[in-house]
Symmetry: C2
Subunit: 417 residues, 2 copies
């Protein structure tokens, strides 16, 4: 695939294990092995191989309690992981599952088939007790919660943003509909090119306490104040453009419509009913607002449990935990024609609905995706869920997709036998 970027030149994953490199080990860690929020080193490679599993040690956070219910078991499958081969999108040779894991800097990976654990791996600083940041996989949680409120009749997707949030009347979001926010078809002046230091995403993250502010910073100091500054550019509803600001607007709308914070809602609607085994958490801005667009941290197994909940259209056992209509709407996707112009080159024919990436392939697969390789991949036909945490040196997911997408699909085909 000639449009796919060349793979970056970085140390191989096996040569930058954070424990082996000694990041943040010792009491105290040696000066050259310290990772500090204020100097931004948590975002550097290879330091991020440690920090993605230790966000709460760098920033303020809010808990998503699992509650006191028993954990929903994840039974072990009797069969072994099929021994698959795939050809990466770059067209270079034939790779194994292990090649995919290594090539994409996998921190932890879980494959479920028919509700059972087929494969589970924890590497580097990961363990079953260690949450990892989900990055923009967080968006799919927020989008699904909003879709549930729509299905419940609590949220009207056809209303304008300023109906729910008069505070945004002067912003570019004012006359967008809730649905346009949910599907990221708003027309706003906001770029999210992670390779561009001037992109609006960075001010968004500084305001939200996710990244350190430079000396003398006098911009907005919370998510709400930042979102008010976003201007309109273009026409709402015309086409998909991936912009994190939409998710934080959606989080605000959902909080206003429901009276619950993002963390409260995730705990009560999903984390507690699905029988999570670890508390999850969000990073928060200086006034306690969860970073709906990218601040969720979970254990790997709970990410898989959530994938199963989605695959089962909201059922946990025989209990309908989430409205089936919200899941049907998500799996149905949006109009791929509105996606084509701005979608990643690795996702031809896909669409974006309720903040999920919808493949429209023959298996009906959908995906949650976060920078540096965070994934939930759900293949309904193969009854397969893949949950994955990673610390790829490249933010953009096309660097992972060239391996992960063909590997995931090959695994699905093998499971269908």
């Amino acid at each position: 695939m000639s449009n796919a970027p060349a793979l970056p030149v970085h140390p191989a994953a096996k040569d930058c294990d954070p424990l082996t490199l000694g990041w943040m080990q010792g009491s105290p860690p040696p000066a050259d092995k310290r990772i500090r929020f204020q100097d931004g080193s948590g975002y550097h490679f290879p330091q991020l191989r440690w920090s993605f599993a230790h966000y709460r040690q760098m920033v303020a956070t809010v808990s998503v309690p699992r509650g006191l219910k028993a954990v929903t078991p994840l039974p072990q499958a009797a069969r072994n992981l099929p021994d698959i081969r795939y050809t990466p999108m770059t067209g270079a040779g034939t790779c194994t599952w292990a090649d995919m894991m290594e090539a994409t800097y996998t921190d932890a990976l879980l494959v479920m088939h028919q509700g059972e654990v087929l494969f589970e791996h924890f590497g580097g600083v990961m363990s079953p007790l260690q949450p990892h940041i989900a990055m923009s996989v967080s968006k799919s949680f927020m989008g699904l919660m909003a879709a549930c409120l729509v299905a419940d009749g609590v949220l009207d997707e056809s209303q304008r943003v300023d109906h729910y949030l008069p505070e945004l009347a002067g912003s570019g979001f004012a006359d967008a509909t809730v649905r346009q926010v949910m599907d990221m078809t708003t027309g706003i002046d906001y770029t999210e090119n992670y390779a561009d230091p001037q992109a609006e995403i960075w001010n968004h993250m500084r305001a939200g306490g996710v990244m350190p502010c430079p000396p003398g910073y006098s911009g907005p100091s919370n998510f709400y104040d930042y979102l008010k500054t976003v201007r309109k550019l273009g026409t709402h509803g015309e086409r998909f453009t991936y912009r994190t600001a939409n998710t934080d607007v959606l989080g605000w709308i959902v909080a206003r419509a429901s009276g619950q914070s993002t963390a409260q809602m995730l705990s009560q609607r999903i984390w507690q009913p699905m029988g999570a085994e670890l508390d999850a958490y969000y990073t928060v801005d200086p006034i306690g607002t969860a970073f709906a667009g990218g601040g969720l941290n979970t254990g790997l197994r709970d990410l898989a449990r959530f994938g199963e909940l989605v695959r089962n259209h909201g059922l946990v056992g025989d209990q309908q935990v989430l409205p089936a209509a919200a899941l049907a709407d998500t799996f149905g996707g949006a109009d791929p024609a509105r996606f084509a112009a701005n979608g990643p080159v690795t996702l031809p024919g896909w669409s974006y609905r309720n903040m999920w990436w919808v493949s429209h392939n023959a298996h009906g697969a959908i995906m949650a995706r976060g920078v540096h390789g965070q994934n939930i991949y759900i293949d309904p036909k193969a009854e397969m869920v893949i949950a994955r945490y990673a610390s790829h040196p490249v933010a953009a997911n096309v660097a992972n997709d060239v391996h992960t997408l063909p590997a995931y699909h090959a695994m699905a085909l093998a499971l269908l036998g």
Copy 2:
């Protein structure tokens, strides 16, 4: 008792419920109801009635995982709470249990008798799922973990501090013994008068990321670097003086001797084996060091479980989780003569051992205490454990003691019938 301070003039507890006052409620909270780490408002009264249960929303933290084991149940007692009366140390009239709770700004309170829950209360922003900061109750966890390492032969209490920590060779701690650190009989130039803005405790807390630094602050920026600056004053071993710096030195010694961080050790030695129901957490400094002296946050029920573990000399059921020798040593206390000069006026005849307050009364009661009213009170004779979280406007515990100590003892007597 004429030496006891007059009760402070503040709004009554019932008139400053943080939910009723609206602190941090809404999306966003109104500007005059926001509590931000950077402006220090989390330490103001009445804001602290919210922030003591929400530390992680203000600062970086590290988890103390409960693990994946089943929760140890806290069975309900069949009997009711005895209807006690007590006379406060101030000598003014006769008070009820409810009077004590109100007078001391109780956030949450649990009374256990013979291993069963006799009384449980969650007020304000507290709930069974909501951790609260334990303040200096944290010290008793650290002291007990150190005592366990001594009992295990991993830590030599007669060694000098600089044996374990060459980094402190130039500090006032260098020639103190580990035991002197454990019992806070070191002679160092460090004051902990919370009413004095120049007291060393404040620089200690700024270095540790527990309090905001003033503009232009150029002092130490982690616990280790702060502890190196503490000078000697007086003679080690002569008398008890309450100084938080000792606990963070002990945390450093324990980490060095064991190879485990404070949070790892608490999780593996206590939190997981005792069957905690919530993860606990510590606030951390900018390089990830747990604040051993005051940064632990737990659920109330887990504080009670820990109290039961101590009361039972390290047993959970029939399993010896902690070495019995460490508990026997703690209950035995230290020399009250070394305590008398500097102990709180409300604790006559007490001593301080392994960072526990030891009453030497006829019931053999011991106590863990934290500013603003955090307590674990263990009465072995009455088979009673009281776990308590509070947000008293006055930091010093004498303001609580005048009510809590006579109330706790009256409850113990009533339970003994």
